[in-house]
Symmetry: C2
Subunit: 350 residues, 2 copies
């Protein structure tokens, strides 16, 4: 039994029934993760009988606990319906965070439901108007940029975008150890005159407050700048961010499919591909979408990671690693301090 | 001398000084285009001396005319400044359309300036609130989807999105010969409840009016659906569309760069790549970004094509081909008829 006092190491509460490939790939992912992180433990929320069997099959013998939950949130459930059911694995996963039994929570389930349930149980941090989901976006430096919001909100005003910048900065600092992450605001052009009133007002506020808070505000960035890694953090509203992320995912998938087909188009293509397999493996490992798995829900009183719904064991293990790393950091204190200072600045200039 | 009466074939007015690689790649592109389309002629707007020399070098001996313009619009010029200068090659390019000396106009120059100059000289079509730029987006069927708006506007209300749908449908019909193109509205999810109020209102209007106009309204589509070719036309506001397009471009570029580097990472990779070169060539030709070149400015009283600023001769020739094909179509009549009917519907239901 894992205790909520005198806790050592990191405890992660796992929604074992959420996601397209749950619970099989989830438990396999947990096995990979536990093997790598010897001070980590997990609470597996879900069907006890099924999970016990899977743990045995995956040689998970210790550092876990099963919390039986009779129900699971369907991938297409309405958030408003899902948040009223207290017997689901998703509800229990977040509850373990609320009761301080776990340091982090993770789910590959229904994003809207996870957001609603997390919001309801954990509440937003003081001074934060709305939480945001931050995605990891691969860049040419072989690392990732933090992009937020990618879908927690459908619109965001300039004040909220400044809060997203504070949260994204804290995330990049904690996850990548960047001392002073650069921050870009996503727009249709890089010049200050570009875009609509709201985005220009957001830039004005970001420069004004960012300066006082010691943030490195780069300015506007365009869609191409995200994959280019122009800034460590890219701030955008949830509508645009979601569409940017999914448009890029779609383009990458099309690219990969056409490449695969083309390299099967004749005997020389097949032979050459075989000979060049080391090169292809290098490429695959560098561009593996699973290594970008793990969207962090920022602005909540608790650490919640959203895994891609369709990910496999390896991808889920990556997302668990993000949760583990963030649980060892003090990113929420960084956010809390900056938001507090932001409120003080605003009151002083009133 | 090309006459504006009794004109045979198609005449395209070319801004020969616009774009990162102008005028050299522009004239090379014109040469490729003229060779392919024997009933086409061009008006080359720009520096007479430079253009005459380039035409000779590229063996362009007939079916062209040079219209001397002493100035060119800088790539970073402000649209408001550019539209006041009447001695630029861009101004002259559009003027040839206005005076009905040409059937289509094309420029690889400053997008904002081209939009402003086109708007000022040609005016928007009756019943259209704002023009839009439609991009061609590759899909797995080996064809393209039409995505608009990708940057003419920074925001759009639901009524404008319905107009974009009408214009995008006419474009897809004319360019690809699709009898009844399917139309999607870009959102953060495919269910009807997703997104903000404006996008849901746009869907309501689109379904209502689309039905009466005989349009095939598919519903909401997500970012991944664009590259998936889920619908023939994807409608979005100019802010989101621009960022979606550039985010996907950036992702594709990152993908290609990492692939290139990985396949140079060792002797076997290099050898294999060489052997598989036919396969790679197939891939390159299928995913050639130049074949998607040519953004059509819709909603104006004239056919204006915007080429990508950094394109080369081959890409510019593709954009010229779009202009040529559209000049032979009656897409503006289709738009005019549908907009007229839309206005009638609106008045009848008032």
């Amino acid at each position: 039994m894992l205790k909520d006092s005198n806790r050592q190491g990191i405890v992660i509460s796992v929604d074992s029934m959420g996601g397209d490939n749950a619970p099989i790939e989830i438990i396999k992912g947990v096995a990979i993760f536990l093997k790598k992180n010897l001070d980590a433990r997990v609470i597996l929320n879900g069907d006890k009988q099924v999970l016990e069997k899977l743990c045995g099959e995956n040689k998970i013998f210790d550092r876990y606990e099963i919390n039986h939950c009779p129900e699971a949130v369907a991938m297409d459930a309405k958030p408003s319906t899902a948040m009223r059911k207290k017997d689901t694995s998703m509800w229990a996963t977040i509850e373990k965070l609320k009761t301080n039994t776990a340091d982090a929570a993770i789910s590959a389930g229904n994003t809207g439901a996870l957001m609603a349930i997390s919001n309801l149980q954990l509440r937003t941090m003081e001074g934060i108007h709305r939480p945001a989901i931050a995605a990891l976006w691969p860049n040419p430096r072989g690392t990732h940029s933090v992009v937020l919001d990618v879908g927690a909100n459908v619109d965001s005003d300039p004040d909220q975008l400044v809060e997203f910048a504070i949260m994204g900065e804290a995330y990049a600092k904690a996850l990548f150890g960047i001392e002073k992450p650069t921050i870009g605001l996503l727009n249709v052009g890089s010049e200050d005159v570009k875009g609509h009133d709201d985005i220009r007002e957001a830039m004005r506020l970001l420069r004004e407050h960012g300066n006082t808070l010691g943030m490195d505000v780069y300015g506007f960035v365009e869609g191409t700048d995200i994959s280019n890694g122009t800034t460590d953090v890219v701030v955008t509203d949830g509508f645009t961010g979601n569409i940017a992320l999914k448009s890029a995912e779609g383009a990458a998938k099309l690219f990969a499919n056409v490449l695969r087909q083309s390299l099967k188009s004749g005997p020389f293509a097949i032979l050459g591909t075989l000979i060049a397999s080391a090169g292809f493996n290098k490429f695959k490992s560098k561009m593996d979408p699973r290594s970008s798995n793990g969207g962090l829900m920022l602005g909540l009183n608790g650490l919640v990671v959203k895994s891609h719904g369709s990910t496999d064991a390896k991808g889920f293990a990556y997302a668990l690693q993000v949760a583990y790393k963030m649980a060892r950091s003090d990113y929420r204190n960084t956010i809390r301090d900056n938001v507090k200072r932001l409120i003080e600045i605003k009151q002083a200039t009133k």
